[in-house]
């Protein structure tokens, strides 16, 4: 088997590429193979050109590949759009009967998939099932595994819909078995379990459920909405209230109201929606109410590219909110990190009564990959509010009591035998409005200095790879992790290593200064135009990196693009 086989299914929005792409992901995952799938989608419901990209590998894989071994072009525009990104012996499947392509090229292979879809499924809508059958045949899978997965996927549909999908896939599978002889795309099945298959936002949702999330409020906004969809799917089972807010102002204020009453709460949005939440962020900090907020980044300013990816909100999240206060910002780069850090977000947020922000982006959110099954035994969820049992004897409570640590235990209204006052104005220990200068100083120290000092002791360690003897160190945060990992594995002879930061605030300054003691060259790798991470490193450590590899076309990094960038800069 080739080291990696990359498949792209391209067509118009609404042709079912995502559904069938996921069917294929599950089939390959169950065959013991590693996969990474990402979605290149346009901001429209129908038409345009969307791509589901899937890379399959025997060894672990963390990002896509630029060049496709197999392209299924479901429409004419896909043929010309994807011709330039084909692997050397790549194959492009198209339907000559449906859309005439005059070019003659051995890489082009005609399959009458529209006719097969209509004949066996009764509608051209089944063309994606045909794509599934074609790919299964090219990769030499058993058709049984395809049939099983189609049944699972469409289990909530009527029997004839399932049957039609299977028939169309089978006809297409057989057509390829009879007409395409080469085994060059065959995969080798493995007996080992490839673990769990999910997207980054599915991992966030699962992490939140495990952490005890009971109230979620959000206004739909790409690419954050998948968190709400996933939570809604399990809301009944886990008794979670998922409330679609009238706007992002409502969403953040709702989670503050719920959290003030002891319910673990979260909201998610993208940059534009987060702009509306910023006053609420400041309120959460001032009232010392725990909140967890996800910013699923997309290219901006303003509406930007609604369905594409960027990492340009780093500075924004660090500085968002009027006034000065402590916060935590995580930047998960994989499903595992998304799952574990979402739990840590709830823990830290409640323990220190601070806002915790989770930066994801469209690439992490919508990409599917397999990961080791989560170690649930290892996870200890602990509550930090005053329990109902311990509340009964409390008769004299100050919400903002000055303590040595700076943390005032959070009591819940109606649980204690006293009243609780919380205020967005500067307030006394009791929570009443004050303009007293000395109280002001103590309160700022409590919310800012003391909490930052405590949070600095719980910083998530940077992830390092191949740093020993490295001549060049690449540094990234968030979703660039996959491309960095694949690239450094691929370039293992080049003495190149990387550092991935799953937490960007408080910044792991001490750790980074130690790690970067004697490097030859340092470059940041960022999905933004400003080199924001490079500047952050400079601000927090004094270390000036040698340069930044920046990508701000709305598309994620992958192995091929990163290797090419390194070559262009003569880093390798």
């Amino acid at each position: 088997m080739k080291t990696v086989i990359t498949i792209k299914i391209a067509g118009e929005a609404g042709q079912g590429m995502q559904t069938i792409g996921l069917v294929l992901c599950r089939i390959f995952k169950k065959a013991g193979l590693n996969i990474f799938a990402s979605q290149n989608i346009m901001s429209r419901i129908r038409g345009g050109n969307n791509v589901f990209e899937l890379s399959i590998s025997v060894k672990p894989i963390h990002s896509c590949r630029q060049y496709a071994d197999i392209v299924i072009a479901l429409d004419k525009s896909s043929v010309s759009l994807h011709r330039k990104n084909m692997a050397q012996d790549g194959l492009m499947i198209f339907d000559q009967e449906k859309f005439k392509v005059t070019e003659t090229n051995p890489a082009l292979f005609h399959v009458p998939f529209y006719a097969m879809a209509s004949e066996k499924g009764g509608s051209e809508m089944f063309v994606s099932a045909s794509a599934c059958g074609i790919i299964a045949s090219l990769t030499r899978l058993d058709f049984d595994s395809v049939a099983i997965e189609l049944k699972n996927t469409f289990s909530d549909k009527q029997t004839d819909v399932i049957e039609k999908n299977i028939q169309v896939a089978k006809t297409s599978f057989d057509f390829m078995q009879n007409n395409f002889q080469s085994n060059r795309f065959a995969v080798i099945k493995k007996k080992t379990d490839a673990g769990l298959l999910m997207s980054g936002h599915e991992a966030v949702a699962l992490g939140a459920i495990k952490a005890g999330l009971k109230f979620y409020s959000a206004y739909p906004m790409s690419p954050s909405t998948t968190i709400m969809e996933n939570l809604s799917r399990y809301a009944r089972q886990f008794n979670i209230v998922v409330e679609q807010a009238e706007d992002e102002l409502a969403a953040i204020n709702m989670i503050i109201g719920a959290s003030f009453n002891g319910v673990r709460s979260m909201c998610a949005t993208s940059g534009g929606g987060f702009a509306l939440m910023v006053e609420g962020l400041s309120l959460a900090a001032m009232t010392e109410t725990p909140v967890v907020i996800v910013d699923a980044q997309r290219p901006a300013p303003a509406t930007g590219f609604p369905t594409r990816t960027e990492q340009a909100d780093l500075d924004y999240l660090i500085h968002a909110g009027h006034g000065e206060f402590a916060r935590v910002i995580f930047a998960p780069g994989s499903n595992e990190e998304a799952f574990y850090l979402t739990q840590k977000s709830f823990q830290l947020s409640e323990k220190y009564q601070v806002p915790v922000l989770i930066m994801t982006d469209q690439h992490l959110a919508d990409s599917y990959s397999n990961n080791k099954t989560f170690n649930l035994e290892k996870i200890k969820i602990k509550r930090f509010i005053i329990s109902k049992k311990d509340s009964k004897n409390i008769t004299n409570y100050k919400r903002y009591q000055f303590t040595k640590s700076g943390i005032s235990p959070q009591a819940i209204p109606s649980w204690i035998n006293d009243c609780i006052y919380a205020d967005s104005d500067e307030h006394t220990e009791e929570g009443h409005i004050t303009e007293d200068a000395s109280i002001r100083i103590k309160m700022v120290e409590k919310r800012f200095y003391k909490k930052m000092a405590l949070l600095s002791k719980e910083i998530e360690n940077p992830v390092t790879f191949n740093l020993k003897n490295a001549r060049t160190i690449l540094i990234g945060f968030g979703s660039t992790y996959g491309a960095l990992k694949d690239t450094c594995v691929f370039l293992k002879k080049e003495k190149i290593g990387f550092i991935h930061l799953p937490q960007v605030w408080p910044f792991p300054a001490k750790k980074m200064i130690t790690i970067l003691k004697n490097p030859k060259k340092i470059f940041t790798v960022e999905n933004n135009a400003g080199g924001q991470l490079a500047k952050l490193i400079r601000r927090e450590t004094g270390i000036q990196v040698n340069g930044s590899i920046l990508k701000f076309d709305g598309r994620p990094f992958n192995l091929d693009i990163l290797v090419q960038s390194l070559k262009e800069r003569r880093i390798i």
Binding site: G212, N253, L376, P413
Partner: protein
Amino acid sequence: MTEFKDFLSNDEIAWCPGCGDFGILTALKKSLVSLGKNPHDILLVSGIGQAAKLPHYIKTNVFNGLHGRALPVAIAAKIANRNLTVIVTTGDGDCYGEGGNHLIHNIRRNVDITVIVCDNQIYGLTKGQASPTTDQGVENKIQTNGVILEALAPLEMAIALGCGFVARGYSANGEHLAWLISEGIKHKGFSLIDVLQPCVTFNKKNTYEWYAKRVYKVNDDATYNFTDKCAAYQKAAEWHDKIPIGLIYKADKDSYEDRSGLNSKPPLNEENTEQIDISGLLEKYK
């Protein structure tokens, strides 16, 4: 049982002498005493403005948040901790201006909270600009040629949106207002009480004298049917010469807590969250 003194706060009151808010504060305390509520079981939520200071002058739980954002905090507090009696004290700027969108959608949401709007038809805290309910033509430092926007009609809007409890009180008529607040609290679902309230410093038009000539109690008329939506709408539209106060519209319907099933479960904040088993869930991803 609780007494009036159980609700006394030590906080110094920062309203102007003669402010209509004093009447509303007293009426609220009376209502809570008459309902036998325990201060610990009540949460007052407010935003910003003179009305938003009110929770500090009464002893209950308080969350005093951002301008315009009292409603989302309040409804989520009720969803999280449904044993609480949740009351919002807000103003015409806070509720009808800055937070207008939340009013519209929380009427639809119908969480069981009571919203008291201290409506003085002027911005007090920012010193006398027009509010959404300022009458057309009123002059001030900003609208120097008189307000050219039409005044918002909050009661008509609420009735049109299907709000289950729509009332208007007058701050100088304390007993009547206390009764309205009690009815609002008892009503299952979102209750809106717009309270006419003179601003003695900035509103030179809608004064105690002005109101005294106009307000009348609509429920004194035994033929008035507050469950008739069309009649209620007509009544709510009365303004310039005669102004009705009382219960304008009432419709019993399922609350958010009924519709969502929350009412048949223990309070959300009493859920055990430390031992959640998601191992079955992970099977779906294998």
